[in-house]
């Protein structure tokens, strides 16, 4: 193991972390404010990826495609909130889990009908492809650096909105005391719809950024969804700060686990034992982490409500 | 003549900068009815949560019948004979009145790790629960779902539930809150009936209820007990009048 490799893997972990954060932010806000467990959050990830790909190919401009994709996901998010989820806020978590599970089936199948079950073609514009030489000997894909930058920028923006604006004040107040916000004469329904829509758009952003390097196909959202739930549970549900911390922890743990668990095991176990145990352990690592965190702190690292 | 049943020493609890319990000392004697009064925000809820074990103090001790129960959980205190009712009615809405009380009886009569025999068919549970329902005036309502009882009846049911645990001490958190005049009278009558036989801690806003029931009163203001004494003493205490009673008596 050389230092550059560890550094490069840390960058990889950071990149995965910010991606998870984009997903987690919306999910955790929606839970914190509307008390809604939304399994269908992964569907917005998928919708964002499909729409951006579609608009990029239709317009020929990557930036236009991304913008339209974001706007489209926002619109879909708002529509879903208005049609289906609004009625679920006051329902038990169980109902929410099941209804949004049903929505997953619906969205996956809808995507399959509209775009087929096969993965669709997505690519990067030339100016985002290629590499940057960070140090002598450490070349890193430009696009992944862009993802890190966008993710950190969004995290900063979110912090600013939540901590420094009136909307953020309402969001914070809404998380702790819904009745009070309503009493202030704020249109709570509108606030909810907005928060939900932007949460969906953030998931869409994660999806459309992942499209060109991962795979755009029906069901793409579920793979990441469970990891995102691990993130917000570790961080403390409802807390943006917790989502960021959880995302970075999970991103790092998963990446470093995949990279180094097996080589490290190989130093203490036999080669074959390490080959068997390493990948198994690496794939269970984040769940193990979550179990340990919850065993010690049942409300996660940053509980939103004392 | 009376021993101390509950003793609180130097209880302190803060939430951030807010000191909700500020070196609270309190003594409740066996058999007395002890009222705790205070204006809104005086820290009554925080105090009784610490007494009942729903909240733990930063400092200080709670002694119950000579035993230090500061670190015990609510169920552990309940098993030692510390029962409570809640400010906001806390019952099992989807159980019948009888089942509500039977559960409380069950909690204090043998193991509940019994899986075979239907609990509702245990005569000892049934008869004990029926007797208590009778006692609080709900004898005729035992088969009604708790959710379908009138508000006053639900409050009475809650007290029945507390009684069913055969407590040595009963902590009543605003038992007449939200009641009409007639219901209030009925509740006061019920509590007068219990008074003497049981040690009661009464946290209440309704001054009629307090002064007609309490043997002694403690006044809590800004997290501190500013006075403890018989009702007449409290009525006469200038500090109490200034801080709290004055306004209400004057009005």
């Amino acid at each position: 193991m050389n230092l550059f490799l560890v550094l490069e893997q840390a960058l990889n972990g950071l990149q995965l972390g910010v991606m998870l954060f984009l997903m987690a932010a919306g999910l955790t806000l929606v839970f914190g404010i509307m008390n809604l467990v939304n399994l269908a959050h992964g569907s917005f990830y998928m919708v964002g990826a499909y729409l951006a790909t579609y608009f990029y190919q239709a317009t020929g401009s990557y930036l236009l495609g991304v913008s339209l994709g974001l706007a489209g996901t926002l619109a879909v998010g708002v529509a879903v909130e208005l049609v289906a989820l609004r009625t679920l806020y006051e329902r038990p978590h169980l109902d929410q889990v099941l209804a949004t599970f049903g929505l997953i089936l619906f969205f996956n199948e809808l995507a399959a009908i509209l775009w087929g079950r096969a993965a669709i073609y997505t690519t990067l514009p030339d100016y985002l492809a290629g590499h940057v030489e960070l140090f002598a000997g450490l070349r890193y894909p430009l696009y992944r650096l862009v993802i890190i930058a966008v993710g950190l920028a969004v995290a900063g923006l979110l912090w600013f909105v939540v901590a420094r604006t009136r909307l953020g004040m309402l969001i914070r107040a809404g998380a702790s005391n819904r009745a009070m916000v309503a009493a202030l004469g704020v249109n709570v329904r509108l606030l909810y719809t907005l928060v939900f829509g932007f949460g969906a758009a953030l998931a869409g952003l994660a999806g459309l950024m992942s499209g060109p390097i991962h795979v755009v196909q029906p069901g793409m959202g579920e793979l990441i969804l469970i990891e995102v739930f691990v993130v917000i549970v570790i961080g403390g549900i409802g807390s943006i700060r917790g989502a960021l911390a959880g995302a970075l922890i999970v991103g790092m743990a998963d990446t470093l686990g995949r990279a180094f668990v097996r080589p490290m095991l190989a130093t203490v176990l036999s080669r074959t034992a390490a080959d068997t145990a390493g990948p198994a352990l690496a794939s269970m690592l984040i769940y193990l982490l979550m179990a340990i965190v919850l065993a010690l702190k049942p409300q996660g690292l940053f509980p939103a409500r004392a | 003549m009376n021993r101390t049943l509950l003793e609180v020493r130097g209880l302190r609890k803060s939430f951030g900068a807010l000191l909700a319990s500020d070196d609270v000392d309190l003594e409740v004697l066996e058999g007395e009815t002890h009222a705790i009064i205070g204006p809104n925000g005086a820290g009554k809820t925080t105090l009784i949560s610490q007494l009942a074990g729903n909240l733990f103090p930063d400092r200080g001790r709670v002694l119950f019948a000579g035993e230090d129960i500061t670190a015990l959980s609510a169920p552990a205190r309940a098993r030692r004979g510390f029962a409570r009712s809640f400010q906001i009615t806390s019952i099992y809405p989807d159980f019948t009145a009888l089942e509500n009380v039977m559960l409380a009886v069950q909690a204090h009569s043998g193991s509940s790790f019994r899986f075979w025999r239907p609990a509702r068919e245990e005569p000892s549970l049934r008869s004990a629960a029926s007797a208590i329902l009778e006692e609080v005036g709900l004898g005729g309502r035992s088969g009604v779902l708790a959710a379908n009882l009138a508000h006053g009846e639900q409050r009475a049911l809650e007290i029945a539930t507390a009684l069913a645990t055969r407590p040595r001490l009963l902590l009543l958190d605003e038992p007449v809150a939200g009641m009409g005049v007639e219901e209030t009278q009925r509740m006061i009558a019920l509590l007068s009936f219990l008074k003497g036989g049981k040690t009661l801690i009464l946290v209440e806003h309704d001054m009629d209820a307090v002064f007609s029931l309490a043997d002694r009163i403690s006044v809590l203001v800004y997290g501190r007990i500013i006075a403890t004494g018989a009702p007449e003493e409290i009525r006469a205490n200038p500090e109490v009048r200034r801080a709290y009673l004055g306004e209400e008596v004057a009005a």
Partner: protein, 393 residues
């Protein structure tokens, strides 16, 4: 309360039983075709079903003068569901043949169910070693391959080219390990490292960083489906395409090419079939498939097309007498039909003895996606390694 609801259930079942009634015995060839039709993996099933339909078109929807009915079943990639669907086909629809099956685990659950019921199981994709060896059965035939064949072919390619220091990657599940074992059977050079990734993983950046740090001479991978698409994109994006030549099995095919396009260029695969195989049956299959469905067909489809033709050859041989199992077995063993892979024969375990080719993804006709092109023949009349464990002669 009690089990009050139980009865409603039972009433429903009884009604369903009465309503469906026994299927009227008609003189018809009934084929149950099981594949994955729903969910993300349903894409492969779509190609398979399309090819079955095309085969029926080509046969005029008749076999030896009998009408053909194909009942499709969706296994949802779950072995127990696959078995359930097979039971339904055998017992409710009373099919004469069950065909299809993409996944080895589904196949291992379904094949014994079918053959124990005395019906034919025609595999058109999964070829697990159990069925090629100890669990071989006279009623089981496959029109695909044994799982190990393809990586063995790739191992031979790399062995023959004298490549050393190979970096091996596959998902951490049984098929992944099988592929690597098959590869190692014919590749004897040095292996730098063997890395198994989480099944269904879509981000390989961490593994690619490790790979680069080991500086191998070549890379061998097995990443089917969506995993392959992610892997290829990230391999190109990480700039490894020019650095370390990539050899793969079941990673680049006509399903994934439209999704990755240029990121597939230069990719090597081994396979028993390719759209550019020059034989009349294949040329007809490829052009008719493209005309009817507007897409390039893929080997999953070609196998399924062959599966229907294999059944047709047997039904014709016994002149429509479906009770003549012995006659049909004998006919199938001859593989006497115009296969899309050209002429082949059956081994004693009812797996094909066939050629394997080295394929490369090259630039397609102007405006079209890259295409797979045959570079050379790797194995001629290759037999799988398990036939000797099979008791059939």
């Amino acid at each position: 309360m009690g089990n009050k609801t139980l009865s409603t259930v039972a009433i429903g079942i009884a009604a369903a039983l009465l309503a469906s009634g026994p299927a009227l015995a008609q003189q018809k060839v009934k084929i149950g075709f099981i594949t994955t039709l729903s969910g993300p993996q349903g894409v492969v099933g779509e190609y398979m079903r399309n090819s079955v339909e095309l085969a029926l078109d080509h046969l005029g929807r008749k076999m030896a003068g009998l009408d053909v009915e194909v009942i499709y079943g969706d296994d949802q990639v779950k072995p127990d569901v696959g078995k359930q669907v097979a039971d339904e086909m055998l017992k409710k629809h009373q099919v004469d043949f069950v065909a299809g099956i993409i996944w080895s685990n589904v196949m291992l659950a379904v094949a014994p169910t079918v053959t124990d019921a005395g019906k034919f199981m025609i595999g058109t994709n999964a070829g697990p070693h159990e069925l090629a060896g100890k669990q071989c059965n006279e009623l089981f035939f496959t029109t695909s391959w044994q799982n190990d064949d393809t990586p063995e072919a790739m191992g031979k390619v790399m062995q023959d080219q004298g490549i050393t220091d190979v970096y091996v990657m596959a998902p951490n599940y049984a098929a992944g390990k099988d592929m690597v074992n098959g590869f190692k059977r014919s590749y004897k050079g040095r292996i730098v490292d063997e890395v198994y990734t989480r099944l269904g993983q879509t981000d390989y950046q961490a593994e690619l960083s490790q790979l680069r740090s080991k500086n191998p001479k070549a890379v061998f991978v097995f990443y089917p489906g969506g995993m392959g698409i992610s892997f290829l994109r990230q391999y190109s994006e990480a700039g490894l395409r020019g650095q370390f030549p990539l050899y793969s099995v079941y990673t680049v095919d006509e399903i994934s090419i439209p999704a990755v396009k240029h990121a597939a260029l230069g990719q090597y695969e081994t396979r028993y079939w390719s759209p550019d195989l020059k034989n009349p049956a294949n040329q007809k299959y490829v052009s008719d498939y493209r005309r009817k469905y507007g897409k390039m067909p893929v080997f999953y489809g070609a196998q399924s097309y062959d599966g229907i033709l294999l059944i047709d050859s047997a039904v014709r041989a016994v002149k429509g007498n479906l009770a003549d199992k012995k006659g049909m077995i004998a006919a199938m063993r001859k593989a006497d039909f115009a296969s899309t892979r050209g002429k082949f024969s059956y081994n004693t375990n009812h797996f094909p003895i066939q050629n394997f080719y080295l394929l490369k993804a090259v630039t397609g006709p102007a405006g079209e996606d890259p295409v797979m092109e045959i570079q050379k023949t790797v194995f001629t009349n290759h037999r799988d390694s398990y036939a000797k464990e099979c008791a059939m002669k």
